[in-house]
């Protein structure tokens, strides 16, 4: 016992020594280099320890071991005549303390990327240590803990004197499972079958059926799309459309549906091109060879890095564009795969985590030399497309002729201001008007003949020149610090630098992907099982799924997290296997009722003595409305669907032509995951229900509860039209109010009404009304506005 403590203490000490040296160097780099780097003002150069010891015009800058007589430290303390850095403000006190401690501990100079020890010491912070499979804890009431998951949870509950809530009813469970796994309400027939099934396998079979449905990937793919800040457009001024982003969305959905092992999913997204190298050139046939198609599928994962937010005006400055892209790549990678928020380290060493600024730029350097490229995937269509380009010349000619007519009319109108086309129309002569009409018709005919888009994929490739990455002092890319080589965070890896052989193709991302997917990586499996857990309980074991660092919440059940992480790897990184493990626990199947005295001891249910009642997410609200109304179109995949919006909804948009709504009602009734994700403009109803901003990785959905949500469900055009469809559906089934009411209940709420509810519902449906059908329509709209519709027990 004592030995363990001692070795832990020593390990912690080793880390802090390594961190102090690294930190001191980074502080000097971040604050002193503009003057005491290349410019060597006062003769002092702090880029290496040799020149520091040699010092400048005032002599040696420091004496190792003696901060009290070291000019460097005294200047930072601003006690003598020399005050550094110049200006009113000195360095923050904690940074000055680091320099003092560093000098006093001997002023060791860390070499690039190599920690001071020969092997990386065991990190002090829990999430950076390898998960070790824990033994199952002993519980007093073992009969209550049939699954390993329950053993961990029950042990905590018993220790705190909390009594688990009883199991939820089968009715509650089928609705909970359906929304959790597919994001849709259970079909009435499915509910009935499950209720009737008394076999011991009924629950497992239900889970299997739900996991096998294509709607599973749509629900869980959307979880992942949040994490990787998915968007179909660039954001910023212009908010340009990314025509191939949807291929990545479909790739994600398919990956979940086929239960692609998570390690492969990680490898494909980070380095599909480097791990499965393939030129994807055609070889004498219009049909892409089968192996190439498989490699293309792997490679599609890298689209992740081609769909981030981008200010098109950055195109004015190549270096800025590259820097912003690398920033997005590094930040998204750290948040999504490592569960570490590294964005802070862009500007300074992470105050709380042992991630240094150098680590951050080492991660950027992994992505240096990687850029998006469009690859043609259908030669025949490519040829047609290119052939059709002459049609554009024809269009140009027609446009010229039209504008000549307009100019003539404008000249007659006289000078002054802008005139809209309709203002101008008055001034055409009879002949001009006819000619213009004819020309417009020709435009339409030519436009119809222009071949549709050339099918391409946008994936990551290597650029001709691989730029060197400099540490950006205070995060400003024009303020260049030392060159940083590609590598992993030093605290996580004994060999942080990626070894490169000159002349070999770039394989930096491959190195990152292989490192991340090692079975014993401390973060990869933990971070993903925590996301899966959150999807089932509404809260992760670590409540901050994108921050497993010191700023994040500590795990409520650390041993359970490690057990799940090791189980995940042991089960070949199968996400579906983890759903089964979690959902087969009693913890998942508890009632959501609040019990005393539990709620006094653990009001937020951190220890999971009950299930959490949860509001549907934005997509869930819209999809459940469509499903109840019977209009839901389950077609999957393809380019984004742009739903029609009311004039007032579209009003906030920069330019309504940027929202070319799809007017086929069947298309507009597709699942929400297929709707256009425009970074500068969220579909208002989805935004009202907390769909996240797609600028950054989003780890968790808010679940707010505000009046605009009520207004949307009461008055929104879409909701009202769906209520009409719902009413139509019910009236086609039967003219009997009792039958209509019961059916409405089953479709919207997944259960039979109680006698009292039925009586009230029939009374509502039998009211006199100004128009026939109005009571049924009001009834359907009411169902959408019930708390029970929005909340899952």
């Amino acid at each position: 016992m004592h030995r363990t403590l001692l070795s832990l203490w020593l390990a912690a000490l080793a880390v802090s020594a390594a961190t102090i040296d690294e930190s001191a160097r980074a502080i000097l780099a971040a604050n002193c280099l503009p003057c005491h780097g290349e410019p060597k003002m006062g003769g002092l150069d702090v880029r290496e320890i040799g020149p520091i010891l040699k010092g400048g015009s005032r002599g040696p800058a420091l004496t190792p071991g003696k901060s009290a007589t070291s000019p460097l430290y005294l200047a930072l303390e601003r006690t003598g005549d020399l005050k550094m850095p110049p200006g009113k403000q000195g360095l923050p006190p904690h940074e000055i303390r680091v320099i003092r401690d560093w000098i006093d501990s001997g002023a060791h100079w860390p070499r690039e990327g190599v920690p001071t020890g020969s092997a990386a010491p065991e990190p002090a912070w829990w999430s950076l240590r390898k998960p070790v499979r824990p033994a199952l804890p002993e519980v007093r009431n073992a009969a209550n803990a049939p699954s390993p998951v329950d053993r961990f949870i029950l042990a905590k509950l018993e220790a705190r004197g909390l009594k688990p809530a009883p199991g939820a009813s089968k009715l509650t469970l089928v609705r909970r499972a359906a929304f959790d796994l597919t994001g849709l309400p259970p079909e009435p027939a499915q509910v009935a079958a499950f209720l009737k099934d008394d076999s011991p396998k009924a629950w497992e079979n239900l889970i299997d059926r739900l996991l096998a449905s294509p709607q599973y990937g749509e629900k869980w793919g959307r979880h992942w799309l949040d994490v990787v800040r998915y968007g179909d457009s660039s954001g910023y001024e212009g908010d340009i459309y990314y025509p191939n982003a949807w291929r990545y969305r479909d790739y994600v959905i398919k990956s979940f549906n086929t239960d692609k092992p998570y390690d492969q999913f990680v490898k494909e997204q980070i380095a599909g091109d480097e791990i499965w190298p393939n030129t994807l050139e055609f070889e004498g046939s219009y049909i892409m060879p089968a192996q190439k198609q498989i490699d293309l599928e792997h490679r599609l994962g890298t689209s992740l890095y081609t769909i981030g937010p981008m200010d098109p005006s950055s195109l004015l400055n190549g270096e800025q564009l590259r820097y912003e892209r690398l920033t997005d790549m590094a930040d998204t990678t750290a948040s999504a795969f490592l569960g570490l928020t590294m964005g802070c380290a862009r500007c300074h060493d992470h105050k709380f985590d042992p991630i240094t600024q150098k680590d951050y730029f080492a991660l950027q350097a992994i992505f240096a030399g990687s850029e998006p490229r469009d690859l043609a995937i259908d030669v025949r269509k490519w040829q047609e497309f290119k052939k059709g380009q002459t049609k554009l010349l024809e269009l140009e000619d027609l446009q010229d002729r039209i504008s000549r007519l307009d100019q003539a009319a404008r000249r007659r109108l006289g000078s002054g201001g802008k005139q809209s086309a309709s203002d101008l129309a008055v001034f055409y002569t009879e002949g001009e008007r006819a000619e213009r009409e004819g020309l417009l018709q020709s435009v339409a005919q030519v436009a119809l003949k222009i071949p549709r888009a050339n099918p391409t994929v946008t994936v990551l490739t290597h650029s001709e020149i691989v730029p060197e990455i400099h540490l950006a002092i205070r995060g400003e890319f024009r303020n260049k610090g030392p060159v940083v080589k590609p590598g992993f965070p030093a605290v996580l890896s004994a060999t942080p630098a990626i070894v490169e052989v000159p002349g070999q193709p770039l394989a930096r991302r491959k190195a990152l992907a292989l490192w991340l997917t090692r079975a014993d990586h401390p973060l990869t499996a933990r971070v993903m099982v925590n996301r899966i857990w959150q999807g089932h309980f509404g809260r992760g074991i670590v409540a901050t799924p994108n921050d497993f660092g010191r700023q994040g919440d500590p795990p409520t059940h650390p041993e359970l997290l490690d057990w799940l992480a090791t189980e995940f790897v042991a089960r070949n990184w199968s996400v579906k296997a983890m759903h089964r493990v979690i959902m087969n626990s009693d913890a998942y199947r508890r009632s959501s009722d609040v019990l005393q005295p539990n709620s006094d001891k653990d009001p937020d249910n951190h220890l999971l003595w009950r299930a959490n009642r949860r509001r549907l997410d934005a997509e869930g609200v819209r999809d459940a409305i469509l499903a109840s109304a019977g209009t839901l179109n389950l077609k999957g995949g393809g380019p984004p669907v742009i739903p029609p919006l009311s004039e007032e909804e579209i009003g906030a948009l920069e330019d309504a032509s940027q929202w070319p709504a799809n007017h086929d009602p069947a298309a507009a009734a597709r699942r929400s995951v297929y709707l256009y994700v425009k970074r500068g403009f969220r579909v208002p109803m989805l935004e009202t229900f907390d769909m996240p901003d797609a600028s950054f990785s989003s780890a968790h959905r808010d679940s707010t509860n505000v009046a605009p949500q009520a207004l949307a469900l009461l008055n929104n055009d879409f909701v009202y039209r769906q209520a009409q469809a719902f009413a139509g559906r019910l009236s086609r089934e039967s003219a009997d109010p009792a039958v209509q009411a019961a059916s409405g209940w089953r479709l919207a709420l997944g259960r039979e009404p109680t006698p009292a509810e039925l009586q009230k519902a029939v009374a509502i449906l039998s009211r006199g009304a100004s128009q026939p059908g109005q009571p049924l329509l009001d009834f359907c709209l009411m169902l959408f506005n019930l708390n029970e519709f929005l909340y899952v027990d």
């Binding site: 910023y236 007032e648 969220r682």
Partner: protein, 491 residues
Amino acid sequence: MSTNMHAPLHRKTSFSSRREFLEQSGGGFGKLALLYLLGLDAGAAASNPLAAKPPMFPAKAKSVISLFMHGGPSHIDTFDPKPALLKLDGQKLPESMRGVRLQFTNASEAPLMASRRTFSKHGQSGIEISDLFPNVAAHADKLAVIRSCHHEAFVHSMALNIMNTGSARLGFPSAGSWVLYGLGSESQNLPAYVVMLEGGTKAGPPVYGSGFLPAVYQGTVMRTKGAPFLDMNLPAGMSNAEQRTMLDDAQWFNRRHMEERPGDSNLAARIAAYELAFRMQTEAPSAVDLSQESAATREMYGVGQEPANDYGLKCLMARRLVERGVRFVQLYSGGLVNGDDWDGHAQCDKNHQRMSARVDKPIAGLLADLEQRGLLESTLVVWGGDFGRTPIMDGQLFSTSGYDGGRDHNPYGFSMWMAGGGIKGGQIIGATDEIGFNAVVDPVHTNDIHATILALLGLDHKKLTYFSQGRDFRLTDVGGDHMFAERLLKG
């Protein structure tokens, strides 16, 4: 609906008025929902993110009206006279300044251009204001003109982001969201953060979005025509009474549902949200019903007088909103309707004559009206835009006939002004250089402006933080200094 709701709630919001209101409001209101709204149920109150909160220290202002000139008004032609430019007109920039980065203009070639406007001193303070703002100039003694504003973003979207969220990057909460997060809402039946647009902004809704703050804090777009807010019109063919009946039915079921699930404050909160929504629907139209305003008041704002009508309506509504406890109102002049805004790349003078004629009288009317109603003391009015404009002519991108009297974007030095909210009017803070390119005396960064707005509202910008992406964020990020708030107050 009770008549007392027509009376302004501003400054008088208290539990008693809320209680009074709630007791009189019809239609199935659960006890829990009542407690929730009254903030009496601790658990439920904690779950209402919009509950009114006290400031961190005594506040000078309670509300903010932001007058935002979309596109970027030229300081040189409005609030920052540069007589030196008259001598330098047509010459090139001094050698040392030619390296400056601009969006469309080559700074080493473009000629300097003096303002075509006439500046004169106004009020007792003698602040110089150009003839583009004759009506606003009459209120010179109310204004604190900050002539040394600056930030880093020289393209619109990033500048709009930085002016509104403190950061050029996407995804950060707007100032209004931070204010709401810090102070909550005093308004019973109106959104607490209202934005009026002229066809959207070049950076889209994110400029009034809540970024990583919960969505409840985002700005709500209000329109001057038709239903004021989104989803506020009843579906065609449904009457108010019919909807009330439907809602009563829904709440009947909702209450039963809640009673079977004790201890869940979310369910009570949603029942309350429905009542708020229904009330908003009936009350908001009257809050913005300008027929209740006298002809003299309407005249004062330029309502009914082109080209001032639209902005006049906005300013008048802003006053009515502030009266009713709305916390933050932002009024855009210019936007994406026909691309008509203050972005004077070509013939800047002509552009500004057109744009200022739309806003001058309405803004003056707003200042006068706020003052006569005793609201100016507690309402901070802030005037500004994306950035200022260059003293050199815009490059040739926008004109086929060479330099065309335009001005390019200039974030390096520009003017804003503030009035009301306890600040001392009739003063000038900071200065740009001789030609108006860079802020040189007492430079005030956008972060400082934001820190100051928060300070006047009783919020410390360093303590108003929200944890996201691994750290505590704030409106001013790592910058910001509210020291000049002291100067604004004392003069």
